[in-house]
C-alpha cells in the first residue's frame, strides 16, 4: 500500500485538533443547568468519623445539596469492587475491606471523600465545603508495608488480619529451595520499587446528566474504558441498568492506567444528578489528582538468584510486599501477582522460580496499574540481579546475559508464561552497536579527566501485552474477558467508519486504525473515521491498557474488515459477472484479476446500499462486526543501554546517552511507536532519578504538588537513540506485540545499573537523587 498504509510514519490525524486547542475534553462539556461538585476530603490518614454537620453548608449561597456517605448507603449505592479475585497460597480468597464511594464510618487515607457539596458554581461549592464540619477521632496510621504487617500495627480493615490482603505464591517452592541450596553462587538483594503518582496531563473529570422523562443517565468521564465503567456502574454500583446509562469518554488527555478505574467521584456525580435532577460536574484540581488518582508500584522485595559453577541460572526466589494503599482498587490484586511474578523469568532460561507476594493495606492512596503495571517491577528486579551477578563474577554483564538468554521458542517459563517468539541476542547486539559499547572505556577515561564518574548499564526486558485469552485470564480470577470488538461500516459513498472498543487517550488510534483500513480497502485515511469511547455508538469493548489496542483491537478491526471485503467481493463478482475468487480489492478499486474489468470501490458500496442488483438472497448494506479473542499474550522485548555521568561533588546524574533496541513485532506506524517509546523512557527515567512519593509517618503526602514531586523535564533527558529489531508476533494476524509500556519497563534498571557502575557501589534506591548518590559516593569513600 502507498504512503498511508500500515508500516508508514503517517502524521497523526488527531493532532490538528489537539495542537489548535480544539480537543473536546470532559471538562469542556457545558449543559443547561449544570451544577458543580466539590468534595470534602479527609485531612487525616486514619480516623473515625464521629459526626458530619452539613447544616451550615446547606444554608450557604448557591448551594443545591450537601450529601454524605450515609445517604449513599440509604440509596443502596454499592461499594467499590476489585475485579480480579486472587487467592492466597492456602486457598483462601483475598481479604477485601469495604470501599464506599464516600466514607461513612472510617477514613483510611488523606484525601478520601467524606461528603460532596453541589452548588451553582465551583467557587460557591468550594466556599460551602469550608462550612461542612466533620468531627474526627484520629487513629494511628501506618504507611510502610514492613511496619503494617508487624504485630501491634494499626489495623485498617476488620476483614484483613495484619493488614494482609493475601499471601499469594507462584512456582515450585521445594525445587527452587533445593536449587538455591545447591548453587555454586547466590546473589541476594533487597530491592525497592518506588511509589509513583501517574500525573496524566488532563486531571480526572466527570459530568453526569439525568433525563427524568426517560429515567436515563449520561456520564461523560475521563476513562480508558467506558464500557467497563458502564458495566460496573450498572452491575455493581446500582446506578442504573445498562440500557438506561450511557458512558462517553471524549478526548482524554493521557491515562497511564490511572483512568482505567471507576472512582468514587463518578459514582457520586451520577447518583447526585438523579437525586437533584440537574446535571453535575466535577473536575479534579492537581492537588486532588495527587491525593486520589490510583498510585503505582511501591514494592519491597528480597530476591535471590542462584547460578551453577558455569554461571548458568538455576533458580530464582523472591518475596515481595506490595503496598495496596487504603483500599483495593479495581485491578489492584492482579498487578503484583499475575502481571508481575509471571514475568520474573525475564529473557532468561530459569528452570526454577518461586515467588511469594504479600498484599498489604496501608493508610495511603490506593495503588493500581500504572504504565507497565507489574512488568516494570519484574524487569527492575531481574535486571538488577543480573547486573549485580555479573559484577560479582567479574564478567561482562552482556556476556552473562547472553549465556542465559532463551534462544528456543516457544519457551515455557516456570511461571505460567509461554514466550511465543523473540531474538534477545539481536536486540542486545543492536543496542550495543548503537551506543558504541566498545568505546565506553575511552569515554569513561575522558569523564575521569574532567573529575566526573561515568557508568554504563544494560537492561534486557521482556513484558507481556494484550492480556489474553479470556478463558485463561478467567481461570486466574479476572472478572472480565479480554477480547476486543470492532465494527466496520462502509457508507454508500465508500467512506468508512470504524467503531472500536479500544479507547485512544494519546496513542494515535485515529491514525493507525485508519492506516489499516487504508491498506485493506485502498482508500485514503481521510475517508476513514475512527469512532470510540461512547457506549451508545460502540456495542461493547474492553478499552485501552496493557498495550492491547494494536494486538487485540486492530486484530478485531481486521476480522471485521475481512468480512466486509468478502461481501464486497461477492457483490463485485455479481456486478462484473466474474468468479468471486478472481476479485481483488486494491488502490480504491475492485478488479477482476487477469482482466481489465474493474469498478471503483465507491460503486460497490453504493450497489450494496441501493440493493438494486445484489446476488440472490444477499442482505443489503455493507457493515460487519467482529469480536477477537487472542490465543496468547504478546511478548515485546528489547535491550536498553544507558550511559550516565555523575558529578561526585554534588551527586547529580546526567544521562548522556540512552539507546533502545525494541522488538515490537511488526510496526503499524513507526513514528507513533517511536513517540510511545520516548514517552515511556521519559517516565522510566523520571522514576529512576526524580519521582519519589513521600509520606510522613502519620500518613500526610508530602509530595502532593509539582513543587515537591519532581517530574522529568526536557533538560533531564538526552536525545534518545531508538532502534527496532523484529520477530513478528505469531499470535495475531498483524504480527503486532505492543509498544506503549516498554519504555517505562526497560529504562529504570538501565539507569540504575549505569549509576551503580559509575559509583562502584552496588546499592542505591530509586529515585537516585543527587542526595542519595552523594551519600553513596561518600559512604564508599569513608569505607575505604
Amino acid at each position: 500500500m502507498g504512503v498511508e498504509g500500515i508500516g508508514q510514519s503517517v502524521v497523526r490525524k488527531e493532532d490538528k485538533r489537539f495542537i489548535t486547542g480544539k480537543g473536546k475534553y470532559t471538562d469542556d462539556i457545558k449543559l443547561q443547568g449544570l451544577t458543580q461538585a466539590h468534595f470534602v476530603r479527609s485531612p487525616h490518614a486514619h480516623a473515625r468519623i464521629k459526626s458530619i454537620d452539613t447544616s451550615a453548608a446547606k444554608a450557604m449561597p448557591g448551594v443545591v445539596a450537601v450529601l454524605t456517605g450515609s445517604e449513599l448507603v440509604g440509596d443502596k449505592i454499592g461499594n467499590l469492587i476489585c475485579g480480579w479475585m486472587v487467592h492466597s497460597k492456602d486457598g483462601s480468597p483475598m481479604k477485601m475491606g469495604a470501599f464506599p464511594a464516600m466514607a461513612n464510618e472510617t477514613v483510611r487515607w488523606v484525601g478520601q471523600a467524606v461528603a460532596v457539596v453541589i452548588a451553582e458554581t465551583k467557587n460557591l461549592a468550594r466556599d460551602a465545603a469550608e462550612a461542612v464540619v466533620v468531627d474526627y477521632e484520629e487513629l494511628q496510621a501506618v504507611v510502610d508495608v514492613r511496619e503494617a504487617v508487624k504485630p501491634g500495627a494499626p489495623q485498617l480493615h476488620p476483614e484483613a488480619a495484619n493488614n494482609t490482603i493475601y499471601q499469594w505464591s507462584i512456582g515450585d517452592q521445594s525445587a527452587t529451595d533445593a536449587a538455591i541450596a545447591g548453587a555454586a553462587h547466590v546473589v541476594t538483594m533487597d530491592i525497592m520499587n518506588n511509589r509513583l503518582v501517574p500525573n496524566p496531563m488532563e486531571p480526572r473529570s466527570a459530568v453526569a446528566q439525568y433525563d427524568s422523562a426517560d429515567d436515563h443517565l449520561t456520564l461523560w468521564t475521563t476513562s480508558q474504558n467506558p464500557h467497563v465503567a458502564r458495566l460496573l456502574l450498572s452491575a455493581f454500583y446500582n446506578i442504573a441498568p445498562e440500557n438506561k446509562l450511557r458512558v462517553i469518554a471524549p478526548d482524554v488527555g493521557g491515562g497511564f492506567g490511572a483512568k482505567i478505574y471507576v472512582y468514587p467521584e463518578e459514582i457520586v456525580c451520577l447518583w447526585a444528578a438523579r437525586k437533584i435532577d440537574r446535571p453535575v460536574k466535577w473536575t479534579a484540581d492537581r492537588s486532588e489528582a495527587f491525593l486520589t488518582d490510583a498510585h503505582g508500584r511501591d514494592h519491597v522485595s528480597k530476591a535471590e538468584l542462584a547460578f551453577d559453577a558455569d554461571h548458568k541460572i538455576i533458580g530464582l526466589r523472591v518475596h515481595t510486599y506490595a503496598n495496596f494503599g487504603a483500599y483495593m482498587s479495581l485491578f489492584s490484586s492482579s498487578v503484583p501477582t499475575y502481571l508481575y511474578a509471571t514475568l520474573l523469568s525475564g529473557q532468561y532460561n530459569i528452570p526454577n522460580i518461586y515467588c511469594e507476594v504479600d498484599g498489604v493495606y496501608t493508610n495511603t492512596v490506593p495503588v493500581d496499574a500504572y504504565r507497565g503495571a507489574g512488568r516494570p517491577e519484574a524487569a527492575f528486579l531481574i535486571e538488577r540481579l543480573m547486573e549485580t551477578a555479573a559484577r560479582q563474577f567479574g564478567m561482562s554483564p552482556a556476556d552473562l546475559r547472553r549465556k542465559n538468554f532463551i534462544t528456543q521458542f516457544p519457551h515455557q517459563t516456570p511461571v505460567i508464561m509461554t514466550y511465543d517468539t523473540g531474538d534477545f541476542n539481536a536486540s542486545l547486539d543492536a543496542a550495543m552497536k548503537a551506543i558504541d559499547y566498545a568505546g565506553f572505556p575511552a569515554r569513561k577515561a575522558a569523564s575521569a579527566a574532567k573529575g566526573k564518574l561515568r557508568g554504563i548499564g544494560i537492561s534486557c526486558y521482556i513484558e507481556a501485552c494484550g492480556i489474553a485469552p479470556s478463558k485463561a485470564v478467567g481461570s486466574l480470577g479476572a472478572g472480565v474477558g479480554l477480547w476486543e470488538s470492532a465494527e466496520v461500516r462502509v457508507n454508500p459513498v465508500g467512506t468508512v467508519e470504524v467503531l472500536t472498543g479500544s479507547h485512544s487517550h494519546g496513542q494515535g488510534h485515529e491514525t493507525t486504525f485508519a492506516q489499516l483500513i487504508s491498506t485493506r480497502l485502498g482508500v485514503g485515511i481521510d475517508t476513514v473515521q475512527i469512532i470510540h469511547g461512547d457506549t451508545d455508538k460502540v456495542q461493547f469493548g474492553m478499552g485501552t491498557y496493557g498495550s492491547r489496542s494494536g494486538a487485540v483491537g486492530m486484530s478485531a478491526i481486521l476480522k471485521a474488515v475481512e468480512k466486509v471485503e468478502a461481501k464486497a467481493r461477492k457483490i463485485a463478482a455479481h456486478l462484473m459477472e466474474a468468479a468471486e475468487g478472481d476479485i481483488v480489492i486494491e488502490g480504491g478499486e475492485v478488479k477482476v484479476a487477469g482482466t481489465d474489468k474493474k469498478m471503483p470501490w465507491a460503486l460497490v458500496a453504493l450497489a450494496a446500499y441501493t440493493g438494486h442488483n445484489l446476488p440472490d438472497g444477499m442482505e443489503p448494506g455493507l457493515k460487519e462486526g467482529a469480536f477477537y479473542d487472542p490465543t496468547n499474550f504478546t511478548f515485546p522485548a528489547g535491550s536498553y543501554i544507558a550511559e550516565v555521568e555523575i558529578d561526585p561533588d554534588t551527586g547529580k546524574t546526567t544521562v548522556c546517552n540512552f539507546t533502545a533496541a525494541d522488538d515490537f513485532g511488526n510496526l503499524m506506524n513507526p513514528m507513533i511507536v517511536e513517540g510511545q517509546v520516548h514517552g515511556g523512557i521519559a517516565q522510566g527515567i523520571g522514576q529512576a532519578l526524580l519521582e519519589g512519593t513521600v509520606y510522613t509517618g502519620d500518613g500526610q503526602l508530602l509530595t502532593a504538588s509539582y513543587m515537591d514531586y519532581a517530574m522529568p523535564r526536557a533538560d533531564d533527558l538526552p536525545s534518545f537513540d531508538i532502534h527496532h529489531t523484529c520477530t513478528p508476533c505469531p499470535g495475531n494476524p498483524l504480527g503486532i506485540k505492543g509498544c506503549g509500556e516498554a519504555g517505562a519497563i526497560g529504562s529504570p534498571p538501565a539507569i540504575i545499573n549505569a549509576i551503580t557502575d559509575a559509583l562502584g557501589h552496588n546499592h542505591i534506591e530509586m529515585p537516585a537523587t543527587p542526595d542519595r548518590v552523594w551519600h553513596a559516593i561518600h559512604s564508599r569513600m569513608a569505607a575505604e
Binding site: 492537588s287 523535564r713 542526595d771
Partner: protein, 290 residues
C-alpha cells in the same frame, strides 16, 4: 484550588496604595507578581480580605542609573531584568540569577520587589541583594525609609517590613568595571528552589582577590551574608586550599532544613560546593575581564 472572597484594589500611585493598606491594616495584602501569594490563597492558607494590586503603579517600574547607583523599581519583572541592556553591562549577575529563577512563564509575572520582600528563604534575589550591598526603599503611612538588604531579613517570611508598608525600589551600587561575578545554583529540576546557591562579586588585582562579597541562598531561614568566607579570599589567588576554606566557612554558617531536595547534611555540604564553584567562576571572569 479556588481562593476565598476578597476585595480587589488597584491603586494608581504609591501614595494611594499606602493609604489603602493603612486603611485595612492586617486584613490587606499587597500583590506584586503573585507567584507566592496567589497559590497560598488558592490553598486557603492565606485569606486576605483586601488585595492591593500594585500592577497599576507606573512609578514602581523601571531600571535606571543614577551616578554609581542602579535603581530598580519593585514591580520590574524578572523578564524585564533579563532584557535590560543596562543591567547586562553594569550588573550581569542580575541577569544570570534571573535566568535561574523558575521558568519563562513565571519570570514574565514575577517581580524583583515581590521576590525580595516576601522573605521566602527559597527566593534567589534576597541573597543576591545582600551580596551586592543593595538598599531597599520602603513606603508606609508614617513615611519613607531605607533598610539595607543585609539587615532586612529576620526569619522565614519575617522581615523588617511593617504592616502597611510596601517596598518601592532597590538601589544597588555599581561594582567596578571588570569585576568577576557568579550565581551558582544547584537545583533538582527546572523551576525548583535552590538545593543551595551562592552569589559572588569580586575584583582581582595582580592575580589576587582585591574585594569579595559572598551571600548564600536557601541554606537557612534567611539569606546569609558570608562575610568570613569572603575575608578568607582577600589577597589570595583563589587556589584550591582557599576555595576549600571559603567553602568550609560557608558551610559553617549554613543551617538548612531537610526537605525534598536532600538531607540537611547534604544541603550544607552543597553550600560549600556552590560557594567554591561560584568563587572560581567569578575569578575566571575577572581575570578575563582584566
Amino acid at each position: 484550588m479556588i481562593p476565598g472572597q476578597f476585595v480587589y484594589h488597584r491603586p494608581a500611585s504609591i501614595a494611594e496604595a499606602v493609604a489603602v493598606l493603612a486603611a485595612h491594616g492586617d486584613e490587606a495584602r499587597p500583590l506584586s507578581g503573585g507567584h507566592s501569594l496567589i497559590p497560598m490563597m488558592k490553598l486557603r492558607m492565606a485569606t486576605p480580605e483586601h488585595l492591593v494590586d500594585l500592577a497599576g503603579i507606573s512609578e514602581l517600574k523601571g531600571i535606571s542609573q543614577q551616578g554609581q547607583t542602579i535603581v530598580i523599581g519593585a514591580m520590574t519583572t524578572q523578564a524585564d531584568l533579563i532584557k535590560s541592556d543596562l543591567l547586562a553591562s553594569a550588573l550581569p549577575i542580575i541577569r544570570e540569577t534571573s535566568l535561574q529563577i523558575a521558568d519563562p512563564q513565571i519570570r514574565t509575572k514575577g517581580t524583583i520587589g515581590g521576590n525580595v520582600a516576601n522573605g521566602d528563604p527559597g527566593n534567589d534575589m534576597p541573597g543576591l541583594m545582600q551580596c551586592l550591598g543593595a538598599t531597599y526603599h520602603l513606603s508606609g503611612a508614617s513615611g519613607e525609609r531605607t533598610v539595607a538588604a543585609r539587615d532586612f531579613y529576620q526569619g522565614a517570611y519575617f522581615t523588617s517590613l511593617d504592616v502597611g508598608e510596601i517596598l518601592t525600589s532597590i538601589s544597588i551600587p555599581v561594582p567596578p568595571a571588570g569585576h568577576g561575578y557568579a550565581y551558582e545554583k544547584l537545583k533538582r529540576k527546572i523551576g525548583d528552589y535552590a538545593t543551595a546557591a551562592t552569589a559572588v562579586i569580586l575584583t582581582m588585582a595582580d592575580g589576587k582577590v582585591a574585594t569579595c562579597s559572598i551571600a548564600l541562598t536557601n541554606v537557612s531561614s534567611t539569606p546569609l551574608f558570608a562575610e568570613e568566607a569572603a575575608q578568607l579570599c582577600l589577597g589570595t589567588s583563589l587556589d584550591a586550599a582557599t576555595l576549600k576554606a571559603a567553602g568550609e566557612a560557608a558551610k559553617s554558617i549554613s543551617d538548612p532544613a531537610a526537605d525534598g531536595r536532600g538531607t540537611a547534611e547534604y544541603r550544607r555540604e552543597m553550600a560549600g560546593v556552590v560557594t567554591a564553584r561560584a568563587l572560581a567562576k567569578a575569578a575566571s571572569r575577572a581575570m578575563k575581564g582584566a
